[in-house]
């Protein structure tokens, strides 16, 4: 116990004696570990944040009847079954579509009817699944609105309608006809621009296809979606879930690139920290050569002195690691705020990881300097300067 006390006393005072040198090594460790810790904090969050960011570009899964299915229709219950297979917090949204051909009366006194694609859908899911839709006017307020319609920009142009106009839609097969108020005009950049959208229930009624849908789009978070999709597909019949490849794979590619870039940066930082701590330790050992010789003359063995130096290195590393982590976490928040507009979550694992990393770096950096200790001869102290 008294031995330990004396040991700590010596180590502590040795630190104080070489404040500026120790400060340099400490600073190197703090900066090194700080950057690494913030990189990892950001990286852990980045995959989630990336997915969220990429979700802006729309759905990443599509559900449709498989090739064997006779008619390209499925029941709404089949959709519900699939929906239940996803975690609630991973499923951003999903939107079913029922398609049919209808005729719309063009604006004007003449009774000109033009064929249009009529789509039944859920408007409350548009924000989640098709966030890029530009809406002039408004989408339908809820699933039960049955006297309003949203039409694509091209269709509006072709038929000559504006928001607030009334449009008459008829379906030949069922002979049904409905007068609907145009609540919004959408611009999507795809085929939806020439389609006409009503609530799913109304479309089912007009087309005479109760409970039927043709397709459903999903927006789902998380990695390894394709394996999840495969699993789900094994449990269903007649329908098939598919990933929309473009987004899923570009997401993975970007993440992989970031990952390898991060590892590269981490390696470089570790190396430069190692070098800085190592040269500082080397200088310290050289400066303390006489003291080391004296201690040996007084009966210290190499192992005694090496333990002293490694303990100094470990303490330096440990404290540097914790301080570095603290700064790194703040840095991660700054990155999170500026790049992702959100906080980076605290991960307890990174604290001990930073600590251990810093201690290791510090001790490894001390290996070469400490080996110099072995060569120092106790006889040096007997020789005058």
């Amino acid at each position: 116990m008294k031995k330990l006390q004396m040991f700590l006393r010596m180590v502590g005072k040795a630190f104080k004696e070489r404040k500026s040198r120790v400060a340099i090594a400490f600073f190197a460790i703090v900066v090194g570990v700080g950057i690494i810790a913030s990189l990892f904090s950001v990286y852990y969050d980045i995959s989630i944040k990336m997915s969220e960011e990429l979700r802006v570009y729309g759905a990443n899964l599509v559900l449709a009847p498989d090739l064997q299915a006779a008619n390209k229709e499925m029941n709404i219950e089949q959709l519900d079954k699939i929906v239940n297979k996803f975690d609630k917090d991973k499923l951003v949204g999903y939107r079913p579509n029922l398609y049919g051909v209808a005729k719309a009366k063009a604006k004007g006194i003449l009774d000109v009817k033009k064929p249009v694609v009529l789509v039944g859908t859920w408007f409350d899911q548009v924000d989640q699944v098709n966030p890029y839709w530009k809406v002039e006017g408004e989408l339908l307020a809820n699933k039960s609105v049955d006297d309003e319609v949203v039409i694509g920009k091209e269709a509006a142009k072709k038929l000559g309608y504006d928001v607030g106009d009334t449009i008459t839609i008829s379906v030949e097969e069922t002979g049904k006809e409905e007068k609907l108020i145009i609540s919004g005009i959408i611009t999507t950049g795809n085929e939806a621009d020439s389609q006409i959208f009503v609530n799913l229930s109304l479309a089912q009624e007009l087309l005479g296809k109760p409970d039927k849908i043709n397709i459903a789009y999903f927006s789902v978070l998380g990695q390894n979606l394709s394996s999840k999709v495969k699993k789900i597909n094994k449990t269903v019949n007649g329908i098939e879930l598919e990933t929309i490849k473009k987004i899923a794979s570009s997401e993975g590619k970007v993440l992989n690139k970031i990952k390898s870039l991060m590892y590269l940066v981490v390696m470089i930082i570790l190396l430069s920290t190692l070098l800085c701590v190592s040269t500082t330790m080397m200088t310290i050992v050289t400066e303390r050569k006489e003291e080391i010789g004296l201690k040996k003359a007084l009966g210290a063995e190499n192992s005694n002195i090496i333990t002293e130096f490694l303990t100094e290195a470990a303490i330096l590393g440990g404290i540097g690691g914790l301080v570095g982590y603290g700064l790194g976490f703040l840095g991660a928040q700054a990155i999170g705020q500026s790049v992702f507009d959100s906080y980076i979550s605290f991960r307890i694992m990174i604290v001990p990881a930073s600590f251990i990393l810093a201690v290791l770096v510090s001790c490894i950096a001390s290996i070469i300097p400490v080996r110099m200790v072995v060569d120092i001869d106790p006889a040096v102290v007997l020789k005058g300067e």
Partner: protein, 228 residues
Amino acid sequence: MGLITLENVSKIYGEDVKALDNISLDIKEGEWVSIMGPSGSGKSTMLNLIGCMDTPSKGVVKIDGIDISELDKKELTKVRREKIGLVFQQFHLVPYLTAVENVMVAQYYHSMAEEEEARKALERVGLGHRGNHLPKELSGGEQQRVCIARALINYPKLILADEPTGNLDKENENIVLDLFNELHDQGHTIMMVTHDPKVGQLAERQINLDHGKLKDTPQISKERGLVS
């Protein structure tokens, strides 16, 4: 057989620097021996060998019955730690440790660091009140007394001193020599290198070195206590 025995000991540096040349010597327990001779005659080399900080090129060095010629560094360190107290011309204290801590360092590597005992050792050299001072706050003579306290702390059989008064003025030299006198009276074996014939005469026996060889010396031991 004495505490220290040298049998035909030579120390050769490089090809032809014969720092010690075929020396045979026997020193009994409790003896005070001074080693004298011109600069470069091999005094420090001899002390280094006896202090287990080096091994001879030829011959046998025995300390308390142990032949150290064949020992490796670790074993030499152990013998030094157990049996020898060292005092240097350049004091050599750890600059950032206080006087009492400097004494404790020797205790620490030997066995236990007991602050009480270290303070007592400082009292013995008349520095009981300066225990908490750093070396740079002490005069040369005081620093050397700390070194003596440190050399004594582990009750070594043998005290080796290489010109312990070489860097001191007359007054401090007297204080330090008085201490050695006391140690000798208490039965310590002392080997002291010195240039000063007056200091050398304090010893019971003088060894004269010249070019690494023993010079015949009148083995008369003078009255001790001339200095004080």
